[in-house]
């Protein structure tokens, strides 16, 4: 089954358009069946507090319901285990809990359990998410269905924080029993319960018959085949070994589209490919150099060459669909190599400069780096590339401050303030520059003061303006969530966060 290349590649945009129209006939949800998903590798930990990768969520969501949920297309907050929440004052957040929710082991998910969880993520030594809930001072229970969070400072990012790891409720009984081994023995209150995990092979879930949503889940179980090679994964779906695969590359998407019995879906996400700048040192400390880099990049061509036009050009760190997107900042840096050279000359580098680019050694990253290296030549920037394995390069760039730029990606956070704090906050680990840009800390704090979306949006606009005007990084593309599945799989809804959720999925026929 070899595919005609030109047809495959030339028809990218057209195929995309036609595929959006091609939907399986809508059916009424049916009970039964096990969904077999090709997952992008092992989970780092089943304990939401100790995990460390954005790729984990797809396997965490079925097991753990969160206190608060997010609206799939826009990422605004909506109820889940908490039916309502309210900032009675900027430093007090009251959560009303849904009654009669049970964990998989029968323990009640009540106020006491929620308090246990919120205390745990702050005090458990192995917790990786302490920073997310740092604003919480104490947690108080009022009866069995209400929890009050007393904060050290205003933090209106908390509701959305509670839609992520910090809000994933684990059973206190189970955690007391397993301790560290909870990493491998999860017990939550989600639609699925854990059956087994065979490293690098599969994880298996079975239906939670005590789930609080009536009639849900539709599926009898989910099996994640852990296939870290996407080609292998796609093949497994094409041959029927698996039903569903996500996070496809654009090239694979083309293949999937040509397969007659596969349904494909492309949807925007927060997942941003970008160049991190080490703006604290050397040539990068000059804003003009950083701006020149931004001008030298042709994002549209980058999209075409590396993503077959399937991704969205990124002018800032949030995509068009997000509630905090600011159109005023769009196209701050159009492709302009002449302008780039002029800026470099202004900064004293009339003959161009040489910079060190760090990149990961997987083929996709290498390809992207090769494209950027060529593009930057026209702007007077020569790139020396240093690539290596992900753990090594990440450590070297962020801890060791080695290299001028890192070609990487940001998986996005449920609340934008988390992203900006981690990437540009003074103490943010992913802020290699380490410098404090004037006004940024205040602007960041301002995003967490009010609950009103329009106020927050304006605050984010200030933050983004500082980041983009000073060219503290070079956003490149927003990846699309590229998914392929067979026709049996119905009810799939993509999310802007880009981490797949199988809440409404059912198997037909």
């Amino acid at each position: 089954m070899s595919v005609g290349r030109r047809v495959v590649l030339g028809g990218a945009a057209a195929a995309l358009a036609s595929a959006r129209l091609r939907r399986a006939k809508a059916e009424a949800p049916k009970q039964g069946g096990v969904l077999r998903v090709s997952a992008y590798g092992d989970i780092t930990s089943f304990d939401p507090a100790t995990g460390r990768s954005g790729e984990d969520h797809v396997q965490l969501y079925p097991l753990y319901d969160t206190l608060i949920d997010y609206d799939f297309p826009t990422l605004t907050a909506r109820p889940r285990l908490a039916t309502a929440w309210n900032f009675v004052d900027p430093k007090t957040l009251v959560l009303d809990l849904r009654p009669a929710v049970l964990f998989h082991d029968g323990t009640a998910c009540d106020a006491a359990a929620v308090k246990y969880n919120l205390d745990r993520v702050r005090s458990y030594p192995r917790s990786n998410i302490k920073a997310d809930v740092d604003a919480i001072d104490t947690v108080e229970t009022r009866g069995a269905q209400q929890v009050v969070l007393h904060l050290k400072r205003p933090d209106t990012a908390l509701p959305l924080v509670l839609s992520d790891r910090a809000g994933m409720m684990v059973s206190p009984t189970a955690f007391e029993k397993y301790g560290e081994a909870f990493d491998r023995n999860p017990v939550g209150a989600g639609a699925m319960r854990f059956v087994e995990w065979r490293d690098k092979d599969r994880t298996v879930y079975a239906r939670n018959d005590k789930y609080w949503q009536p009639g849900r889940p539709y599926l009898d179980g989910i099996r994640f085949a852990l296939i870290s090679d996407l080609q292998t994964g796609l093949r497994s779906v094409m041959t029927g070994e698996n039903d569903f695969i996500y996070a496809l590359t654009p090239q694979q998407m083309m293949l999937a589209r040509r397969a007659r019995d596969l349904v494909t879906s492309a949807s925007p996400t927060l997942f941003c490919q970008l160049l991190f700048f080490n703006y604290g040192r050397g040539l990068m400390a000059d804003a003009r150099v950083r701006q020149a880099i931004n001008y030298a990049i042709d994002r549209k061509a980058f999209d075409q060459a590396s993503a077959l036009d399937l991704y969205q050009v990124a002018e800032m760190l949030l995509p068009k669909e997000h509630w905090a997107y600011d159109a005023a900042l769009a196209v701050r840096y159009p492709h302009d190599p002449v302008r780039a050279r002029a800026l470099l000359a202004e900064a004293g580098h009339r003959d161009g400069i040489t910079l060190d680019l760090m990149a990961y050694n997987d083929q996709a990253s290498q390809q992207r780096a090769e494209i950027l290296i060529e593009q930057m030549k026209a702007g007077g920037i020569t790139l020396r590339m240093k690539s290596g394995a992900l753990p090594e390069i990440t450590g070297q760039f962020f801890s060791g401050k080695i290299g001028d730029m890192l070609l990487a990606a940001w998986t996005g956070r449920p609340d934008p303030s988390l992203s900006y704090a981690l990437m540009f906050g003074k103490n943010g680990y992913f802020n290699p520059g380490g410098a404090e840009m004037p006004g940024l800390e205040d602007a960041l704090a301002a995003t967490r003061v009010s609950e009103a979306l329009d106020v927050r949006k304006a605050a984010f606009a200030t933050v983004q303006k500082i980041v983009i005007d000073d060219a503290l990084c070079a956003p490149l593309l927003f990846q699309a969530q590229l998914v392929a599945h067979n026709a049996k799989v119905q009810g799939w809804q993509p999310t802007l966060l880009g981490k797949p959720r199988f809440d409404d999925v059912f198997l037909s026929g």
Binding site: S45, R52, N128, I129, F398
Partner: protein, 320 residues
């Protein structure tokens, strides 16, 4: 025979330090590699504070010598510790992944022998003929092919085009023998090419020498049919060679599984080792290296044992 076992035991005991030395070398080597597993463990929400906290929690901030000795102490008590990154007991991980790789290796060795020995015999019994030329050519090709390239070609042909065999993954023998075999055939074939070439070449070479010896001509003159000569006298003399070859084949194929496992996305011991090394998962790497070093050593020793049993005089000269 008892003496042989005792000698085996003594030599095995002497080899153990070599295996442990290998783990020490790995430990030292990996520490030369920049990269901090604590950074990996801190993950997406990393912060400098969190990273030092993790270093302390996992004992990564202790002096290197202490870290190694603690691990060594564990090993001597039968505990291979846990993966730094996944928490899984190293012994369990090895027990799950090693059989997958071994199955492929053994299958590959079987292919190599089943194809290589007859080819070598053919070439030796028809020296200078076209058959000899073809065998030599195949042997040369087998050694020159990058095995992962051969793997790619096999996948393209048998899995993608013809759909005869699965392109990906592995199935444990215990779970489903038929599927296990189907998944293992293509990887084994890719691995076998080099081995087959080596076996054919060695068999041809050694057998040629044997067949040229005077005693063979005498047997010929006495009227013994060619096949009997080859079988009874030729092969017996090269039995030791074949056994040594087996050991070498095993070692080499085991080492080569890494790249093959990458092409076929097989969660075997090779890819586990590389990922652990890249991620600085010290306990996992050291455990795997120890086990693999022991495997290599034991297989060598076994072969030596069998050879000395077959051929106690250790002669390498050729005779009836």
């Amino acid at each position: 025979m008892g003496g042989a076992w005792r000698e085996f035991g003594q030599r095995a005991a002497a080899m153990l330090p070599a295996a442990l030395l290998a783990t020490l070398l790995v430990f030292a080597l990996l520490h030369l590699v920049p990269g901090d597993p604590a950074v990996t463990l801190a993950g997406e929400n990393a912060s400098a504070a969190r990273i030092s906290e993790i270093r302390h929690l996992t004992g990564l901030d202790r002096p290197l010598a202490v870290q190694y000795l603690v691990w060594l102490n564990g090993v001597l008590h039968g505990d291979l510790s846990r993966s730094l990154l996944s928490g899984m007991p190293v012994a369990q991980a090895i027990a799950e992944k090693l059989p997958l790789s071994l199955f492929i290796v053994v299958l590959a060795m079987a292919f190599a022998l089943v194809l290589g020995v007859p080819l070598g015999i053919l070439a030796a019994t028809h020296p200078g003929s076209i058959i000899d030329g073809v065998v030599s050519g195949l042997a040369a090709l087998g050694v020159a092919l990058p095995n992962f390239w051969l793997a790619m070609i096999l996948v393209a042909l048998f899995a993608i085009d013809l759909h005869w065999l699965p392109a990906t993954g592995a199935v444990s023998l215990r779970d489903n023998p038929t599927q296990a075999l189907r998944h293992a055939i293509l990887p084994a074939m890719a691995l076998a090419a080099g081995g087959m070439a080596e076996v054919a070449r060695q068999v041809r070479g050694a057998l040629t020498v044997v067949l040229r010896a005077p005693f063979v001509r005498t047997l010929h003159a006495k009227g013994l049919p060619g096949a009997a000569i080859v079988w009874r006298h030729g092969m017996r003399n090269i039995a030791a060679l074949l056994l040594t070859l087996l050991a070498l084949l095993f070692n080499r194929t085991l080492g080569a599984t890494v790249v093959i496992e990458t092409v076929f996305a097989i969660p075997g011991i090779g890819s586990t080792m590389v990922e652990a090394a890249v991620g600085k998962d010290f306990p996992m790497v050291q455990g795997v290296v120890l086990v693999m070093a022991l495997l290599v050593i034991v297989s060598n020793l076994l072969v030596d044992l069998v050879i000395s049993w077959i051929d106690p005089r250790g002669r390498r000269s050729v005779g009836p």
